[in-house]
Subunit: 199 residues, 2 copies
């Protein structure tokens, strides 16, 4: 059995580590890249190099951007009073696609998990509590996935924020049991946000 | 709605053009890349750059490699007398994974297709006929997909090679109707090759 040359095999192995691509689809993708060297392979290599240099985490909310503080956190027209808490950046993007929330975000970076030994300090929960105390926040909306870990995390955060006397709400109607935000259509997210209820 | 910064959006758009990745999985993949900048994003950008420079089509068989004539065509121990004809490089790799064929290949670059107006000259069929005349070929094995276009192409090639008086065979048992080589397990490919029959 003759394998492909070393650097092509290396590229296939790296591609196969991307979520959604297995070894077979990685091989297909690499052949496609080689076939479309000018239109796809070189632009993709350049785009990756550029993102590798520019991408950084917003120090305020944890969103991905190219500046120390992200575009959402610095936008004049976004309400300072509302913070929407999400598990990861993909969920933040899903909320933005629904285009219904006009406040700012806080990205936890995951959920509490006894199994994976993820405690509050591994997430950005202490940072959230500090933000609520420092900024003029009137409502924290918990937009966490409707999974066991997501809901455990929501209840933990609600407890932490209770002494601060602000409204803590969570997405309600429309999020199916076991469902993950990033899989939902925009309308479902909009309905869930509109019908949010106090924790 | 605030979108991700321009260069991150550009990377997502390019990733979404890969086979097997849609817009949603492209976003997930890009977030993963940003999270694993050192272990994944930078190595992947480097690997793509390197393949963009090195990858080329073998002038003899059409395989992808890094030299003018590929490793298989130059390998001393591979039989000169047998040429296995495949539709594309992914099928060549599938044959190599089965590790049962010890000859050389000829990659057509597709199949004849009335619908897509692909004639013999768009493929490497004239080149195959020339190879058979120039090299000491005793058998051409047609390992084309068991699709209508694949079988039409196999019959066309068999006709072209008939006057040259060499054996023309095709993969037989084990290739399911409508099946594509690259989806088959190695055992099935091995069985099909062993039971090949004269056209
Ligand atoms: Zn931010
Ligand atoms: Zn070759």
């Amino acid at each position: 059995m003759t394998r492909a040359p070393r650097d092509i095999e290396d590229l296939i192995d790296l591609m196969a580590r991307l979520p959604g691509l297995g070894p077979r689809s990685a091989r297909r993708a690499v052949l496609q890249l080689i076939k479309k060297r000018g239109q796809l392979l070189i632009p993709l290599a350049d785009a990756m190099q550029s993102v590798a240099v520019s991408a950084r985490e917003c120090i305020t909310c944890g969103n991905v951007g190219t500046t120390e503080i992200c575009e959402i956190c610095t936008a004049e027209k976004r309400a300072i009073g509302e913070i929407c808490v999400v598990e990861d950046v993909a969920d933040l993007w899903a909320m933005e696609r629904a285009a219904v929330f006009k406040g700012r975000y806080h990205v936890l970076g995951g959920t509490l998990s006894a199994l994976d030994a993820v405690g509050p300090d591994e997430l950005r929960i202490p940072h959230l509590v500090a933000r609520v105390q420092e900024e003029e926040v009137s409502e924290v909306i918990l937009a966490l996935n409707a999974t066991v870990d997501g809901q455990t995390t929501a209840h933990y955060i609600a407890e932490q924020l209770e002494p601060l006397g602000i409204a803590v709400t969570s997405l309600a109607q429309g999020v199916p049991i076991g469902g993950e935000l990033d899989y939902l259509d925009d309308g479902t997210i909009t309905a869930a946000l509109r019908a949010r209820k106090a924790m």
